[in-house]
Symmetry: C2
Subunit: 349 residues, 2 copies
DNA sequence: CAGGGGCCTGCAAGCGCTTGCAAACTCGGG
DNA sequence: CCCGAGTTTGCAAGCGCTTGCAGGCCCCTG
């Protein structure tokens, strides 16, 4: 394979000059730069990343750690991150934690330690303290996405605000009996997002003078199936049936829509449903939702990493969570509360 | 950071011995090996991948090239591939071609040429001849998944056989008027999979003595939305309504199921639907399908790459397509043809 | 007891690139 | 015409690891 020596020979200069000309560092006479560029392209020369890394200490590669791959949110974040990384000339190496405990541990204790990455992007992970420590021990910039990580700069949407917005949308349509499908209670300790989303829902209700009714909340993991089951219970329960549901994710919301249909309810005539995400499938199901722009989250995280890499002292990016924008998207799954229900409700109040 | 020298000093041996002890190459006395291992773990030493790569010429990293990320099939293949790669101690760096033309080109002309990968796994790509050339020019083992690539060893399911199997399942249930939703005709030139799947459908019909009716075929891209639209046309057309539909993917099949429901048809009473994939969502929609085990495809591809890497002359893996297993999974979306339709059909015959 | 053949281990030369340092050269002002 | 400052280039020393080679040791055989 052609190496820097070949280019140097062809261009009639030293390897040092080739290196400087191609990397843009240091002074090179324009004519020389031109000669070198020409020789390099003629030979199809591309700098050997490994050798360059060894010499500079910078790999032009970032590690992206995800808890799962097979979910819309993660792949979207990765897509956004990768797009930006490519623009900066960086590779992306992927670490997926969805294997067993042993594999998860080995990512932190072995793979990431090989100094193959300049920086790490942690997507939507709730990490143990040990894991955070071992990431810090890398001495590389570290940024999180999809939820705050203590001691780490992160980008995420405000999970409270986001369900608050969704709930307010329903309130503004006149709904008063609003159910919630969200986080699995058992996992709340290790994964705060669902709790936050539920808090936003409750906050919006209280702001509207409505005391949240625990019987209108059903836990679910973040899948259609689980949303379906929760909605069935919510809609079929002994209680006064809600006129609207806010689900903590679009997939659960879609499950709820399908459950409603199966129960003979028409959306949005008999039931309004709103989710969070703006999932790929949301338009198809005509689902109102709150767009959380995951690709943007990935892009912003990469930008921050790049900034951190440019500074000599990588650590002076403040370790706080930066909120990212989100947008209410009204489609056809939400509508004004039906008159009858409104009447029932006002009779209540 | 601790380097090999530190370990050598602590263990009281030379760096050469540390290297040999840790890598398992060459002879090292058991006692020495033990000492070194102890010193290394005490210091938390992990070999620097960059330096090791430079010295050995092997990176312990493979590039995975995908056309999109945000689709079930690709992420599933990647998950399988990554799992295996981890077991072999390999990293995975991801190249996503879903950007613009320029970005796509730069993956082939720049990123992959940096010698950062030992091998390349190309997932479900229909590559241009130039692109295949540039992959070969890497001089690294190359394996494809998800469809044959000329001149490259690949793993994939037999796309003809797979829809043939699905169609035969419907035939065995007594269906005679079977529609197909599949590949977008416009893309057929560059992407053969849909055509193959359609061919399998037609083959099964002919084997059963039924001449495929072009009006029972509707093109669609591989999304729910598109499957929904195609199914609406298929079911609402002027012709004799089919009693069953075989869709070229589960997402299209699910679209079809929803379309049927929206038209007041009950699945499987009024219409049987079968897809291909065994998508994550298939169980939820109770969809009969043909499982194509994408994670397995990823795993097998990695195994072949590893074998190729072990051989001195990387190229003597035969450049043929190896068929992988697939399995009919019968769920609740397919059933015996209704008597009335059967009667109509026999009246026809 | 001498000699031969394995085993272990260390030495040192790279792997392909970057970069501090210094030499050589250019140019303008005095 | 000379000198100094600035520009351009090359030299060579690494970056941290691997590995061919050779030396030292030990043990077995004749």
């Amino acid at each position: 394979m052609t190496g820097i020596d070949d280019v140097a020979k062809l261009a009639g200069v030293s390897t040092a000059t080739v290196s400087r000309a191609l990397s843009g560092r240091g002074h090179v006479a324009p004519a020389t730069r031109e000669k070198v560029a020409h020789a390099a392209s003629q030979l199809g020369y591309v700098v050997n990343a490994e050798a360059s890394s060894l010499a500079t200490g910078r790999t032009r590669n970032v590690g992206v750690v995800v808890p799962f791959l097979n979910r819309w949110f993660y792949t979207s974040v990765i897509e956004g991150a990768q797009r930006r990384l490519m623009q900066y000339g960086y590779d992306l190496t992927l670490y997926n934690l969805s294997g067993n405990e042993h594999e998860r541990a080995s990512v932190f204790e072995h793979f990431l330690l090989r100094k193959r990455v300049d920086a790490v992007l942690a997507v939507s992970l709730e990490l143990t303290a040990d894991e955070v420590d071992s990431l810090h021990a890398l001495g590389r910039p570290l940024v999180g996405v999809g939820g705050p990580i203590p001691g780490v700069p992160t980008f995420s949407i405000d999970d409270v605000a986001v369900t608050k917005l969704a709930t307010e949308h329903l309130l503004s349509l006149g709904h008063r009996v609003i159910g919630h499908i969200g986080g699995d209670v058992e996992r709340e300790l290790s994964f705060h997002l669902p709790t936050h989303r539920r808090a936003g829902y409750e906050l919006a209700l209280r702001d509207a003078g409505i005391e949240p009714d625990p019987e209108l909340y059903f836990p679910a993991v973040f899948t259609m199936e689980s949303g379906y089951q929760a909605a069935k219970q919510l809609l079929g329960g002994p209680r006064h049936r809600p006129t609207a549901i806010v689900a903590a994710s679009d997939e659960m919301a879609i499950g709820a829509i399908i459950a409603a249909r199966d129960m003979g309810l028409e959306v949005p005539r008999d039931l309004s449903v709103i989710g969070i995400d703006n999932h790929d499938l949301a338009p198809f199901f005509n689902l109102s939702t709150v767009d959380q722009h995951p690709e943007l989250q990935g892009e912003r995280a990469v930008e921050l990493l790049m900034k951190a890499l440019q500074q000599s002292n990588g650590d002076d990016v403040p370790a706080v969570d930066q909120p990212l924008p989100f947008d209410l998207i009204v489609r056809g799954s939400t509508a004004r509360v039906p008159l009858t229900a409104a009447a029932v409700d006002s009779a209540h109040g």
